[in-house]
């Protein structure tokens, strides 16, 4: 069974600085999808960025980028030029590419990011 581990329960960053959130996963599959979701306080969970395993190029979305290391089974999220609105819980998630489980996501336990002004 696949597992997702976020080893940092809490992180803190100064406004305008860069922070990296860690995520590792365990799988025997060769193709899969990885996601980072953001859950602001008392607000809806939204997708931040996504990566397909067969794509070697790291995904980027504006100030958000990932460092995808397939061999190491690592999928870290880098937030550049941190803003106060980036403060949230961040969840890393894995989804299979193959049959069964209808695309269920497997989530890590989350990292709570604080941004200091």
């Amino acid at each position: 069974a696949q597992t997702v581990t976020q080893s940092q329960p809490e992180m803190s960053v100064q406004e305008a600085e860069t922070v990296t959130l860690s995520c590792t996963y365990d799988t025997s599959e060769s193709d899969y999808y990885l996601f980072w979701y953001k859950q602001p306080p008392s607000r809806q969970m939204i997708l931040v960025i996504r990566q397909e395993a067969y794509k070697q190029q790291n995904a980027t979305e504006n100030r958000f980028s990932v460092n995808f290391q397939k061999a190491a089974k690592s999928f870290s999220l880098k937030i550049s030029d941190s803003q106060l609105g980036d403060a949230a819980m961040y969840f890393c998630a894995y989804r299979t590419h193959y049959g069964g489980s209808q695309g269920n996501l497997i989530f890590g336990k989350g990292t709570k990011l604080s941004v200091k002004p």
Binding site: Q44, L47, G103, L105, K109
Partner: protein, 115 residues
Amino acid sequence: DVKVTQSSRYLVKRTGEKVFLECVQDMDHENMFWYRQDPGLGLRLIYFSYDVKMKEKGDIPEGYSVSREKKERFSLILESASTNQTSMYLCASSLAGLASYNEQFFGPGTRLTVL
């Protein structure tokens, strides 16, 4: 914009009550999911449905049931609420198929307190 709505943001119920949590999505998604979110435990899948009247158990189905009579609506039912079911409940939906991202879209959550 994809919209997933949940019937209540906050709900307080008594032990033993039957509780209904409703979720509606407006994007014609085939898949719908119910999660429970607890501090330090992340999101755990309770049930999911990939078609009308179809359902499958997730990781923690005990004490819960679900109903999907229409494609856009997925209900979570607590037959006899207990204090250990006090939690945040999140609904999500996605397109079917595994050959594409088909990411899940989440509702705002229902914070349920069972007294």
